[in-house]
């Protein structure tokens, strides 16, 4: 009924309505067009990794259409996954990342709790300091750290350079500040009454942390864990500087230093290695995308 009246009373209005929805539809079409374009741009390198990893050396050097696999083969995967050296890199990476994640959580969660809830002398300054530390890049510190560890080795006889466990010392400098910072944000968003209720219920500070704060801030904790893991897994500069023997290398450095032999590039294996190296973060991302994104945006939106 009402549509009829509108049609009769005001033709101009009808035109407006039509143009509005037509604008919308066009905007949507353009959006999709550009999104497809950007998605192609984003996914080309990983797609190309996959394509190349399925090719034999012969097919790669045959200069056929590079975007297509004519004779798919798993020989690159088999080659790498049966290579002790490559598996060694993988395990080194896995161990380093898992231990670093554990260390990071053990340091940053209690610290964040103290900074968010137990105001003490200098706590505000320390929180700011934590954030500033997060802004200090690895490229500023690798030279003094390298020298420090060398001197430390000379003094104490404890050799840190060229040992994989040196990474357990340096990676936390990259992960702890950010994880502490976002955990402060998550903890601070928990209503004050909740810890007061816990205190009245008879919980100690430690119990408040473990039984109330950690479960309630679990999404934040997962986001921080993902962050710590991906940073440890992806770190390239520190292992490149601090480790050289092939049995001490982690995956990214291992692939680059051992698969690239002089000028001979075994691209099939390199791309396979790169894809396997990218797989753990990608798998985590695929399953925990929302936590991943929450952690990414938390640094600027919390705090």
């Amino acid at each position: 009924m009402s549509t009829v009246t509108i049609d009769k009373s005001g033709p101009t209005r009808k035109v407006k309505y039509g143009s509005m929805s037509r604008d919308r539809a066009w905007a949507l079409r353009w959006s999709y067009f550009f999104l497809v374009l950007f998605a192609v741009f984003s996914l080309t390198p990983p797609f190309y990794m996959l394509i190349t990893s399925l090719k034999s050396s012969a097919e790669i050097s045959a200069a056929t259409n590079p975007w297509w696999v004519y004779h798919p083969t798993l020989e690159n995967y088999l080659g790498l996954l049966t290579s002790n050296q490559f598996l060694r890199f993988f395990w080194n990476s896995a161990w380093v990342s898992i231990i670093v994640v554990t260390i990071t959580m053990l340091i940053s969660v209690p610290a964040a709790f103290a900074l968010a809830r137990m105001k003490f002398w200098g706590s505000a300054t320390l929180a700011t300091g934590v954030f500033l530390t997060y802004l200090i890049p690895d490229t500023l510190l690798f030279i003094p750290l390298f020298k420090m560890f060398a001197v430390f080795g000379d003094w104490t006889g404890i050799q840190l350079i060229n040992r994989w466990y040196v990474l357990l010392l340096v990676y936390p400098t990259l992960t702890v500040p950010f994880c502490t910072w976002i955990m402060i944000g998550y903890f601070a968003s928990i209503p004050k009454e909740l810890d007061e209720a816990a205190i009245i219920d008879g919980a100690s500070w430690f119990q408040t942390l473990t039984r109330i704060f950690i479960p309630v801030a679990l999404p934040g904790l997962i986001a921080a864990t993902i962050f710590a893991f991906t940073v440890s897994w992806a770190q390239f500069l520190y292992p490149l500087v601090f480790t050289t023997s092939t049995d001490q290398l982690v995956l990214p450095v291992g692939i680059i230093t051992t698969l690239i032999k002089g000028d001979v590039f075994n691209w099939g294996q390199i791309m396979t290695g790169a894809l396997l190296g990218a797989a753990p973060p990608l798998i985590i991302y695929a399953f925990l995308m929302d936590y991943y994104i929450a952690g990414l945006t938390a640094g600027a939106t919390k705090g």
């Binding site: 009454e193 007061e196 008879g202 919980a203 119990q207 039984r211 309630v216």
Partner: protein, 366 residues
């Protein structure tokens, strides 16, 4: 079960005194409500009893023991918060039993206490749900259940009904009262809502600016307020205050409101106010229900007068009428059939048997 005593309790934040020396004796089983406007120190007082705030000066005793240095968990208290403060990751049963589990009570004991509390609060069906799945009223019940299972010496309520809508608030008010009748635990309850205070309390403590204005039963506060603050804070619509002075006319004591309006005081009142200096600036305090439509026959102490109504508010069972006397707005409650209309004159009557006289400068009720 225990009594609670506050002796000259002071709370200072840097150089601001939030609570300025409070003396209060709360008997065992008593339900005491601290009421006052925001910032009057009532919540701070409650939090000091709970042990969530340090005491700057004075003593707090629970069951005869000074608890100034005792941490909250050892004070044997339970608290219900305004936003309920339910642990979001625990079920209702886990929420209620958290305190008992921390104290390592036997499982069977915990279970029976939780079941009992849940039954009392009618939340047995909700016992396995998470707080997120509950309505506001249900969360409120769980918060109370968490307090009840602890079987503490004292219940502390910090504005527990403020987050509920008006209808639910009335319902939960009754629930709280029922629970208190059953468990008889000493209760300190903080609210800014004077209706809540009046309906729940054995005794009401009216606070203002960090001090206690008056302590008394709801009826005492309503009928015998000690100060202008209490008189205006308790009761809705609030008490009317009209500037006035006393004058002697032909051996009788009159209260003069305007040049044209003066009422003779009833004998009891005349005797009480007779000694006051006639020059004092005074306020006539009169509750709206004591300003009503004029009756056909005269009654002692009820004096008729004419007023031009500014606004009328029909409430159904009564109509509120507003008019102006000497620049002061006055509210009266008349029968809906009295013919009150916006802007029209109406013959009203004031019941001086229930009047109050206040010193305009000190605010004291005389």
């Amino acid at each position: 079960m225990a009594d609670v005593t506050l002796r000259k309790v002071v709370k200072r934040y840097d150089d601001v005194e939030a609570v300025r020396g409070i003396d209060l004796d709360i008997a065992d089983h008593e339900f005491v409500v601290l009421v006052g406007p925001s910032g009057c120190g009532k919540s701070t007082t409650l939090r000091m009893i709970a042990g969530l705030e340090d005491i700057s000066d004075g003593d707090i005793m629970i069951g005869g023991d000074v608890v100034n240095d005792v941490p909250p968990k050892d004070r044997d208290i339970a608290m219900v918060f305004q936003n309920y403060a339910l642990y979001p990751h625990m079920t209702v049963a886990e929420n209620m039993s958290f305190g008992l589990r921390l104290k390592h009570y036997p499982k069977a004991e915990i279970k029976s206490r939780v079941t009992e509390a849940a039954r009392m609060l009618d939340i047995t069906d909700l016992i396995d749900r998470k707080p997120k799945q509950l309505s506001g009223g249900q969360r409120q019940r769980v918060a109370m259940g968490r307090a009840i299972v602890r079987n503490p010496k004292v219940f502390l309520f910090d504005e527990p009904l403020s987050n509920l809508d008006a209808k639910l608030r009335v319902q939960m008010r009754i629930e709280i009262k029922k629970v208190h009748q059953k468990v008889r635990t000493t209760t300190v309850y903080v609210t800014h809502d004077q209706v809540e205070a009046m309906t729940l309390a054995d005794r009401v403590v009216v606070m203002n600016h960090g001090r206690i204005e008056q302590i008394g039963t709801p009826n005492e506060l309503y009928h015998k307020p000690a100060t202008r603050f209490v008189a205006s804070f308790i009761g809705s619509p609030a008490m009317n205050f009209v500037p006035c002075r006393l004058e002697d006319v032909a051996g009788k004591l009159n209260v003069r409101l305007t040049d044209r309006l003066a009422f003779p005081l009833p004998p009891a009142r005349a005797a009480r106010y007779g000694s006051l200096p006639r020059t004092d600036k005074l306020l006539l305090g009169i509750r709206p229900e004591h300003v009503m439509e004029a009756r056909p026959h005269a009654e002692p102490g009820i004096e008729p007068f004419d007023a031009v109504l500014d606004v009328t508010e029909p409430m159904g069972m009564e109509t509120l009428v507003y008019f102006t006397l000497e620049g002061s707005q006055v509210c009266g409650r008349v029968n809906p059939n009295a013919g009150a209309q916006d802007g029209s004159p109406l013959r009203l009557a004031v019941d001086l048997n229930n009047m109050h006289l206040l010193n305009e400068v000190t605010g004291a009720v005389l």
